[in-house]
């Protein structure tokens, strides 16, 4: 298994280089270094000299990908792409264009993101699987039918609606929790309650239907019939046998997102005033801060690859027949 993991980590390198290259290309197609300088220097009294100075200080005064005037390997290394990318692989994210340390920001902002994403993930998983199993148990009854109708309804509504409706009902009309904001420590609980509830409900429709489909596929298999023939009760059949055998697809969907939980939610964090990495990314895109966008995309790809490796490893625990070689 160790060989497999090492091999997968090596595979990650070209993927990360590719992602970095695509991010770089997409960003600089839309924003030239001059645009970035103007964005940071403001709209008034900006001189060409100031733009040149800004570009020079931030390392954007070089060619993007290929340096015509350089010699040898420097044709590729003396470029914005090379200089901005190499340090990332050493996890040196550098400084944002406003001069602040990106690693420091990521460290402080990942915890608020995690404070929402982790409970939403765990409680949501529990709730969705439970509802899905209940619907499977009552399959072909009105509970199943209306359950699917409810799921489709929940799926059809935009996540923004849940946020606004949640803030309106729970925060504004009933005054049960603060509408938005954040605090450190235990005091954060009352700020997190609403986004967590909204997060769970907004994904309930799609996830419950997905798990229901997985369980329905399992329910007609022979081992289920055997279990029933042995006289096991339906809940034992569902929770011990069906759930266990449906773990592979569940893990495929669930484990891969675990590392990504650090990155937070873009809209949720903006609306609830959570100072997480989601809002950090949005801010960076809005202010054309390439250093932050690049760091966040790199981190996102790295965490996604980690998630995939973890998923593969989790298969070996869920199904003893799986061997990673």
């Amino acid at each position: 298994m160790l060989n497999y993991i090492i091999r997968r980590l090596f595979y990650a390198i070209p993927i990360l280089v590719g992602v970095n290259l695509i991010t770089f290309a997409l960003f600089f197609v839309v924003n030239t270094p001059d645009d970035m300088a103007r964005m940071h220097l403001g709209t008034k009294h900006v001189t060409e000299e100031a733009i040149w100075k800004w570009k020079q200080e931030h390392g954007y005064n070089k060619p993007l990908l290929y340096n015509n005037v350089a010699y040898g390997i420097e044709k590729f290394t003396d470029t914005i792409f090379f200089e901005k990318s190499v340090s990332m692989f050493a996890f040196d994210f550098g400084r944002a264009d406003d001069g602040r340390d990106i690693a420091h920001e990521i460290q402080s902002r990942m915890w608020p993101s995690l404070a929402i994403a982790l409970p939403v993930f765990l409680l949501g998983l529990l709730a969705y699987i439970t509802f899905a199993l209940i619907m499977v148990f009552f399959r072909a009854t009105y509970i199943d039918f209306w359950g699917i109708v409810l799921c489709v309804m929940l799926m059809s509504i935009s996540s923004l609606f849940y946020i606004i409706a949640g803030q309106f009902l729970i925060g504004k009309l009933w005054h049960l929790v603060p509408i938005s904001g954040y605090a450190s420590g235990l005091d954060a609980t009352r700020f997190l309650l609403l986004p967590i509830i909204v997060g769970i409900i907004s994904s309930a429709g799609a996830n419950t239907r997905w798990y229901r489909t997985l369980f329905l596929e399992e329910i007609n298999k022979e081992y289920v019939r055997t279990a029933r023939a042995k006289g096991l009760s339906e809940n034992i059949v569902l929770f011990r046998h069906v759930l266990k055998n449906a773990m592979i697809p569940i893990l495929t969907g669930a484990v891969v997102v675990i590392p990504l939980l650090f990155l937070g939610g873009l809209i949720t964090e903006s609306f609830f005033g959570i100072p997480g990495l989601g809002s950090y990314t949005i801010d960076a895109i809005q202010s054309q801060d390439f250093a932050v966008v690049r760091a966040m995309v790199f981190l996102g790809s790295l965490l996604y690859i980690t998630g995939l490796v973890l998923t593969d490893i989790s298969y070996t625990f869920a199904d003893p027949r799986v061997r990673l070689e």
Binding site: V30, N31, T32, D35, R38, H40, G42, K44, H45, V46, T47, E48, A50, E57, D98, G99, R100, D101, H104, R109, I134, F137, F138, T141, Y142, I143, I164, Q167, F168, G171, K172, L173, W174, H175, L176, V177, P178, I179, S180, G181, Y182, A183, D187, T189, R190, F191, L193, R228, S233, E234, N235, S270, F271, F272, G273, P275, S279, D283, S287, Q288
Partner: protein, 783 residues
């Protein structure tokens, strides 16, 4: 009155449990459903279980009440208001609650320029001058200066000229500024001294600051008196090679030797280790002179009366060299300890918490003294209670908490709950907050009035316009004949595009249609008939009226496009309107704009692009018609009229003249006007310039936005001023009234929790019954 927590919670719990009495009704309903075969699972067993549950609940009511109370208590943190986003310990304190949407990029006074940055720096840094809080039109008064600067003029040989010398004769202007003694900096570790009076934290190593997480982690702080050298040091910082002052280019044109000084510093910086302290005190700047501890002089080229307005901005506020040195020590920048992040000033407030992702806190500077609330203002100020605090020491508020609120909906709702003391009005909430009276006046709605909310309105010193690119052959013209025809075309469009209608439809009337480039409140703006633009408007029965579309059509025909068809080519006239990328919501604005041009049978093609590409088009002169705006730096007409000054053309000179308008007569008058002191002669020239602009119509004059703001009853001494940002020191809060209102408005509504639990139980019971039925059925089947 403040409600007792127990009373509130139990009364609501009682109410929520009364909802259980709906159980018998549910019984009857389910029986009905069963009879009609509408439901299959709910059977007699379920009904009996439900009845049993109902009775059990009645018997165990108190136990259940307590169990329900637990999560509620956790939610509330034992408080009777659950949705308070601030700690309970802050209740009743003299704190102002404000919000910011965009995190400030720079808090270094040499770099901060955006309004969201000045909001903070203006409370911390004190430039020599400031605007009078109450007087209108805006009047300059001393801040750290003891009196207004003494301005003298010199010729090329340095010979003193009379005070009223014409700009053409003046080679240099000298501003002598004397500051007050006894002004001290906020407590800061940069000033901390040991017993030998050596600076304590000025020889730190990376190891020394390893455990320091925030500035307050430094054990000792100190202060020192403000001296003239600190102002000089800051002026030198404008040219610092590692800082990007947005006004360096502008100031280098005026302050003697500043451009050369930047080169000297750049050369010196190359010889030093990276990011080490560049001691500006060692390098003299020709244009700035220290007279004594409290007096300094700034020498600028020529006559530039507007320079005095720059002395109200943080660019000219004092910065102590100790702060610069302190933050340049090794390891500081890695921890974000920079002057850009932790300002050090003499102002009424100091930044004690800087987490721009979440919260920024300003607290009263204990060393601040010597400023008092003004004792004179406008006649209406007495009536509005704005002189009640006359002569009292400033500031009144102890602490200001700025919370980050990126979205307008939560901000608005929290304002209504009393958690923000003031709010602007978005278009979504406009109808809820403002109603237009029969006389067309904006007034607060009854709902808002009942909450004690006040409305404040003010026309901003800004202008939003539609510009014509004068380099374009169609709307600008190349030959004199083409130019004359293009002028008629622009005039026709000026009449056709009805900005009064635009403001009514798209801005809820928040703005006034512009008659020229100068907004109200600025010298050169005239009210009534004298102020109308005779090209687009006429004075009729004491009111301004837009000219008829027939007059516009006649002008269009004179321009060579009768009925919108080119006389030369016989083809319909098509014009191109460049705008930044628009959301779906803005499509209606574009449709409306097309309709305005359609009145003249002109086809308007909207070219939407992202902001970067839009700016690129403007810089290169590739746009034909575009929209743009300008917020004034200072309340002088020069700051608007220079936007159409020929040498400021965007295409040739990268200036601010986006329309690339160039009129020799206008340019000559501008050069004459900009060096003149305020007075009737200057106004005459300004009037002449505005008349030229109206005739040439390089812009559709658009509108001047009107700012609407709401203030809670406990927020006092508020007088809107879009030019000055250091006004928080004048504001006053009544925290007792705020606390009382917050309790009244935010009593938790608990019954939905009870209903939710009951619903859950009602759902679970049929499920349980069905499960049993299914299990029994399966067992029987297996048998």
């Amino acid at each position: 009155m403040i409600r007792q927590p127990e009373t509130t919670i139990f009364s609501y719990l009682q109410y929520s449990f009364e909802s259980l009495y709906i159980a018998p009704m549910l019984f009857n309903l389910s029986q009905l459903f069963m009879k009609r075969n509408w439901i299959r699972v709910i059977d007699a067993n379920y009904l009996s279980v439900l009845a049993g549950f109902y009775l059990k609940m009645k018997l165990n009511k108190i136990i259940c009440q307590i169990s329900l109370l637990m999560p509620c208590l956790i939610l509330s943190g034992c408080s009777d208001v659950w949705n308070n986003p601030y700690p309970d310990s802050d209740s009743g304190k003299n704190i102002l609650y404000n919000a910011f949407a965009e995190r400030p990029k720079h808090l270094d006074p040499v770099q901060s320029y955006s309004s969201n940055e000045i909001l903070f720096t203006a409370q911390i840094y004190q430039p020599p001058l400031q605007y009078h809080f109450l007087k209108r039109p805006l009047t300059l008064i001393p801040q750290t200066a003891s009196k207004m600067p003494v301005v003298s003029y010199q010729d090329d040989n340095g010979v003193q000229l009379p005070p009223n010398s014409a700009g053409a004769h003046v080679a240099y202007s000298v501003y002598e500024i004397t500051i007050r003694s006894g002004i001290f900096y906020q407590p800061h570790p940069a000033f901390a001294q040991d017993k030998h009076q050596h600076l304590l934290y000025h020889a730190l190593t990376r190891q020394d600051i390893q455990t320091v997480q925030k500035i307050s982690d430094f054990e000792h702080t100190g202060t020192r008196e403000l001296i003239a050298d600190d102002f000089i040091y800051q002026i030198k910082r404008l040219a610092h090679p590692r800082l990007h002052s947005p006004i360096f280019g502008l100031m280098a044109d005026y302050i003697i030797g500043l451009r050369e000084y930047a080169e000297t510093l750049r050369d010196q910086d190359k010889t030093q280790p990276q990011n080490s302290f560049l001691d500006l005190r060692k390098f003299p700047l020709a244009g700035v002179e220290r007279i004594d501890d409290y007096t300094y002089r700034i020498r600028i080229k020529g006559k530039y009366p507007q320079f005095i307005y720059w002395l109200t901005m943080a660019f000219f506020a004092p910065v102590p060299w100790e702060a610069d040195h302190f933050f340049s020590q090794p390891g500081m920048a890695e921890k974000n300890f920079t002057l850009d992040w932790y300002p050090v000033g003499t102002g009424p407030y100091m930044l004690t918490e800087n987490n721009p992702n979440q919260i920024m806190v300003l607290e009263r500077n204990p060393n601040f003294k010597g400023e008092y609330y003004p004792d004179e203002g406008m006649p209406e100020d007495m009536e509005n209670g704005l002189l009640r605090d006359a002569g009292k020491a400033l500031p009144f508020i102890d602490k200001i908490i700025f919370s980050r609120e990126k979205e307008s909906i939560p901000y608005w709702n929290k304002f209504l709950q009393g958690y923000y003391d003031a709010s602007s009005i978005g278009s979504d909430s406009f109808d809820q907050a403002v109603q237009i009276t029969g006389q067309g006046e904006a007034a607060i709605t009854e709902e808002m009035e009942a909450q004690g909310i006040r409305l404040g309105t003010e026309v901003a010193p800004s202008t939003y316009y539609m510009g014509f690119n004068m380099l374009d052959p169609v709307v600008g013209g190349r030959t004199p004949e083409e130019k004359a025809a293009a002028r008629k075309l622009r005039q026709a469009i000026s009449i056709a595009v009805n900005y009064e209608e635009f403001l009514t439809i798209f801005a809820n009337g928040r703005g006034i249609a512009a008659q020229g480039p100068i907004p109200p409140g600025i010298e050169g703006y005239h009210e009534g008939e004298a102020g109308i633009n005779p090209i687009s408007y006429e004075w009729h029965n004491g009111e301004v009226r837009r000219k008829s579309i027939k007059q516009a059509q006649a002008l269009l025909a004179e321009a060579g496009y009768p009925g919108g068809i080119s006389r030369r080519t016989g083809k319909p006239l098509v014009l191109y309107y460049d705008v930044t990328a628009r959301s779906a919501d803005d499509r209606s604005i574009m449709d409306w704009m097309r309709m305005q041009f359609q009145k003249l049978n002109i086809q308007l093609v909207v070219r939407s692009t992202d902001y970067n590409r839009f700016q690129d088009k403007i810089r290169k002169g590739n746009a034909q018609i575009f929209e743009w705006g300008w917020n004034a730096d200072y309340p002088d007409p020069e700051n608007f009229l220079f936007l159409l000054y020929g040498p400021q053309r965007k295409v040739d000179n990268s200036g601010e003249n986006a329309a690339n308008y160039d009129n020799a007569e206008y340019n000559r008058l501008f050069e004459q006007m900009k060096n003149m002191e305020h007075g009737p002669e200057r106004i005459q020239i300004i009037d002449r310039m505005v008349a030229i602009l109206r005739e040439d119509a390089p812009w559709l004059w658009g509108y001047h936005p009107k700012i609407f703001a709401l203030y809670h009853a406990w927020y006092q001494n508020v007088k809107p001023n879009r030019m000055a940002y250091n006004t928080i020191k004048y504001y006053r809060i009544n925290p007792e009234l705020r606390d009382q209102k917050r309790h009244e408005w935010n009593t938790p509504v608990v019954w939905p929790i009870g209903i939710g639990i009951v619903l859950l139980i009602i759902i679970l019971f049929p499920a349980r019954a069905a499960y049993r039925r299914k299990e029994q059925h399966r067992i029987l089947k297996n048998r």
